[in-house]
């Protein structure tokens, strides 16, 4: 169990800066998830932590000791990949025992046996110990791969999207499993993913990475209720966040989007400056619709129902207003039909950002 810290770390590949002066600290026993889209620099960060890549600038610390130039084999970290590589002609037991059989480690057979059994029990794969690995399901194989990391008792676990090759249902089960395993062993987990549900359901804290830069670090709750940028707010919204540019013209907010003509927007935000552009946004669960116009309707025209999705637990209604697409999420079966015209209004929070979306503006 160890802490991991990045101080001003930059990693470049030729002209491309993969990660740009990033700073964060993961405490002993913490489960931290780095979340971001493909190409954000997540895997690069993990590989720098593992020592597979050497950064051009900055320092990496394990337990407060600089390890930036320490060889990967000497860092004692475990790396679990998306594509797990198991030895196909060996049994699960042999696969699990393999990392312990290194002559360098010099561990006696009895101790190896005991460790393998303990880890198999933790991962709920005791009944599979004598099977060869090609006979296992995807989820079982991923457990064995994780088990191979666990038997070694490394200082920290680095996991690169280990669940993304699994079926949706299995991924869901493994999410809960991983969280349970983390609770039971109390080791330090550093996990990267592009799936925000995965991040939210497992993480103690989340680091949001975009174009090689950290956008925000916080608990799932902090990130959800208090996003620091448009990128963050949108990334942790499912269905996607509603957002559009508005301009204040003599006290009235006008939507300023390409292909969207003369749409005024009824918002209470007195502190915003006249003549300036802002990005106005709100989550799909905070949009409501009704048959009647009222004082607090968001626009001066009704919206047309464009797509209706019944997702079981909840439904998503996509509206079209003067070329603008907006989504509403509500519990239960869909409340509207395609082609219907309804009045939209806000029911809850909204966020306002500067024109670039990079900074939150206090309403």
């Amino acid at each position: 169990m160890s802490s991991l810290e990045f101080k001003n770390v930059t990693k470049r590949f030729k002209n491309v800066t993969a990660i740009d002066r990033i700073n964060f600290r993961i405490e002993h026993g913490e489960f931290v998830v780095m979340l971001g889209p493909t190409g954000a620099g997540k895997t690069t960060t993990l590989k720098v932590a593992a020592g597979i890549y050497h950064p051009e600038e900055g320092e990496v610390y394990l337990d407060d000791h600089p390890v930036t130039h320490v060889h990967p084999a000497l860092r004692d970290v475990a790396f679990v990949f998306q594509n797990y590589i198991l030895y196909p002609n060996m049994t699960v037991e042999e696969n699990l025992a393999f990392p312990l059989k290194s002559r360098l480690r010099n561990i006696d057979e009895e101790k190896i046996d005991e460790t393998v059994k303990r880890v198999a029990k933790l991962l709920h794969i005791e009944h599979l110990l004598h099977r060869t690995t090609e006979r296992l399901s995807g989820g079982e194989q991923q457990r064995v791969a994780l088990g191979r990391a666990l038997v070694r008792k490394p200082r920290i676990f680095l996991m690169d999207e280990p669940l993304s090759n699994l079926d949706a249902k299995l991924r869901e089960e493994m999410r809960t499993e991983l969280k349970r395993i983390h609770r039971e062993i109390g080791e330090t987990f550093f996990f990267v993913t592009h799936d925000y549900v995965e991040a939210f359901s497992m993480a103690d804290r989340i680091i949001i990475l975009n174009h090689g830069k950290i956008e925000q670090i916080g608990t799932p709750d902090e990130i959800y209720t208090n996003p620091s940028s448009l990128f963050v707010a949108n990334f942790v919204s499912s269905p996607p966040l509603n957002y559009f540019t508005i301009k204040k013209e003599s006290g009235v907010f006008v939507v300023d989007e390409e292909g969207c003509e003369s749409l005024t927007c009824n918002i209470k935000a007195d502190t915003l400056q006249d003549g300036k552009r802002y990005i106005f946004s709100f989550r799909p669960e905070n949009l409501a619709s009704s048959l009647k116009k009222s004082d607090d309707t968001l626009f001066d025209v009704p919206a047309e129902v464009y797509v209706v999705e019944d997702l079981g637990t909840y439904s998503v209604i996509t509206f079209k207003v003067n070329g603008l697409l907006l989504r509403q999420k509500h519990l239960g079966p869909p409340s509207a039909k395609i082609g219907e015209k309804l009045w939209l209004k806000l029911d809850g929070n909204f966020f306002i950002f500067d024109e670039t979306g990079k900074k939150r503006v206090r309403e």
Binding site: A168, K169, S238, P240, E285, P333
Partner: protein, 373 residues
């Protein structure tokens, strides 16, 4: 536009050492203009079924009809069907326009007709502005739209889509999903769509066909399979998390779940058939959102909170009651702590009961037996 009908369709793959029954006797009619989603875990036979419809795989036995014409022995290109796969397979040296025009050129379509049709397809997918770009300049979601435009431009009788969204980032997938649904409403072309993602299936389907081990488990509208799953497999597979499935007992006129006693007369769905049901052990199913934490309810079901998973505007709460473990869904604002003992209220209307041995839902099982008899 065409109706597709599968009649007792089988596919058996033989190797030297073993025989795999990938598809085992499927009967299904997909009406003209319907979007049918084949849903199931890896290895359930959904892709094999689609490949047989496409003509890429020959059925071991059984027949495939398109508009009542037996196409079982026709080659893929003779069936007038367009496919879109998980990997978009665009020509990298051609622009978006050239990629979409390609199948029309191959068919020797007149030039002015090509111009018209390509414009129509690109505009329909909202990617006309990218027409002069090369695939490598586009993000993955747009690339997949180009692949879809290339499929629709021929105006085939049917579309077959094999996990077209699964290579996309989660966010892009959500946008594209809704756009595909809208596209289907605008085009109304018979579509067969294969996925393992139940949310995608719920969102897109007119009708969902749930498969497991080469056999259809249930066919129905999304809301129908969600509310009334035909068996335990469907109950767990649909929904995220799936339906809670608890071991319960029937004693005379009561269903017993832990400390809770539910009179059979309160279960409207089952009160007619339960008295005739002989087993005493059964499975009680209830979806996580139909369970509510209530601090004051003395008559509720007593459980202990084990885990809390925040998911943004809501959270999933894992709880246990002795050997029974379950999950409920609640708002982010609900005050609840791990380790706490709470009382749970069950929405009785939403309870579904399953036969423990066969896994079948009781009313479905009862109705099927009536039909047989």
């Amino acid at each position: 536009m065409a109706q597709i009908r599968l009649e007792n369709l089988w596919k058996i793959f033989k190797t030297k050492t073993e025989e795999v029954q990938a598809v085992r006797g499927i009967n299904l009619t997909m009406p003209s203009g319907q979007l049918t989603v084949f849903l199931g875990p890896s290895g359930c036979g959904k892709t094999t079924t689609m490949r047989m419809i496409a003509g890429l795989e020959k059925p071991t036995s059984g027949k495939i009809y398109i508009d009542n014409e037996d196409v079982s022995n026709l080659k893929a290109r003779e069936r007038d069907i367009a496919f879109v796969f998980q990997s978009y397979a665009l020509y990298p040296h051609m622009t978006v326009y050239q990629n979409v025009a390609f199948p029309l050129k191959a068919q020797k379509t007149p030039k002015d007709e090509i111009v018209k049709r390509v414009k129509w397809a690109l505009e329909l997918l909202g990617i006309w502005q990218y027409k002069d770009l090369y695939p490598s300049h586009l993000d993955s979601g747009t690339q997949q739209k180009v692949a879809i435009a290339r499929a629709i431009v021929r105006r085939p009788k049917a579309f077959l889509l094999d996990e077209p969204l699964s290579n996309l980032d989660a966010k892009v997938r959500e946008y594209t999903r809704a756009e595909l649904r809208r596209l289907h409403i605008d085009l109304k072309v018979t579509t067969v769509y294969v996925t393992h993602d139940q949310v995608e299936a719920m969102s897109l389907a007119d009708e969902i066909v749930i498969m497991k081990d080469g056999v259809i488990q249930q066919t129905g509208k999304p809301r129908e399979v969600y509310e009334n799953p035909a068996n335990l497999f469907v109950a767990n597979f649909i929904g995220s998390p799936g339906m809670n499935l608890f071991k319960a007992r029937k004693e005379k006129d009561t269903i017993i779940l832990g400390n809770l006693k539910i009179p059979v007369s309160h279960l409207r769905r089952y009160k007619e058939i339960l008295p005739g049901y002989k087993e005493s052990e059964l499975i009680l199913g209830i979806r996580p959102e139909y369970l509510k934490i209530s601090s004051s309810n003395a008559n509720g079901w007593k459980v202990e909170i084990e885990f809390i998973e925040p998911l943004g505007d809501e959270k999933i709460v894992d709880f246990s009651n002795g050997t029974l473990k379950g999950r409920l869904r609640t708002y982010r604002s609900t005050q609840v702590q791990e380790g706490e003992e709470v009382s749970i209220h069950i929405d009785i209307e939403k309870i579904r009961l399953f036969d423990e041995k066969s896994g079948c839902e009781l009313l479905t099982m009862h109705d099927n037996e009536e039909v047989k008899a």
